[in-house]
Amino acid sequence: MNTPQIELILATLEREQVAYIMIGGWAVIAHGSGYITRDTDLCYQRTPENIQRLVRALEPLHPYLRGAPPDLPFRFDARTIESGLNFTLTTDAGDLDLLGEVAGLGTFERAAIFSEQMELFGFPVRVLSLDGLVRSKKAAGRPKDLLILPELEALLALKNRIVNHKS
């Protein structure tokens, strides 16, 4: 397993102007959590043009199905992405989960309503908001999702305090 290289992944996606939302662990970290993540989770827009851009962007990172036998005839191309929805991949920049939908929120277009733009490593990146993360974690409902909820809700309260203090 390669170490997740978040800057490399973001730079790669930026180069091809891929439409996506950063979700999961890196989004939680971007909002201020002390969480540690082993993979990168992204929700991508499922238009034919964006799928083409996504494939072009990620090809140099040699994406392959995580956990699949090495002789499996897997091709990371637009046809494969169009015929699936969620992909758990291993890449040269670490494990990468590409999701067509976010739990509790829906497709890229719906999830985008719960996102905010952040500047990360100099790139404009759409990141799932704290409110969106809370909703999706509650909807996913797995123990590991529920464990992070108190921290996310505390971050929301702390950020609101900072905003109120400034105004």
Partner: protein, 66 residues
């Protein structure tokens, strides 16, 4: 009168988090950083963790060969 008794106020999110074991000082420190700085900090932590795990694997393999 029982109807006059008010329920205890709900603890706010930060209080609930403290009770859950979340270190708020860590969150407050992180909030002073820019989002990029937060990612860089987490990147360094995960790299250290992966390096540690790799060393542990090597050590375990050596032990098994003994």
């Amino acid at each position: 009168m029982i109807s006059d008794l008010k329920p205890a106020p709900e603890p706010d999110a930060t209080q609930r988090a403290i009770e859950f074991g979340v270190d708020l000082t860590l969150l407050e420190e992180n909030l002073k950083l820019t989002p990029t700085e937060r990612l860089r900090k987490a990147q360094r932590a995960i790299e250290s963790l992966f390096a540690f795990e790799q060393q542990a694997r090597i050590f375990r393999e050596k032990l098994e060969r003994l």
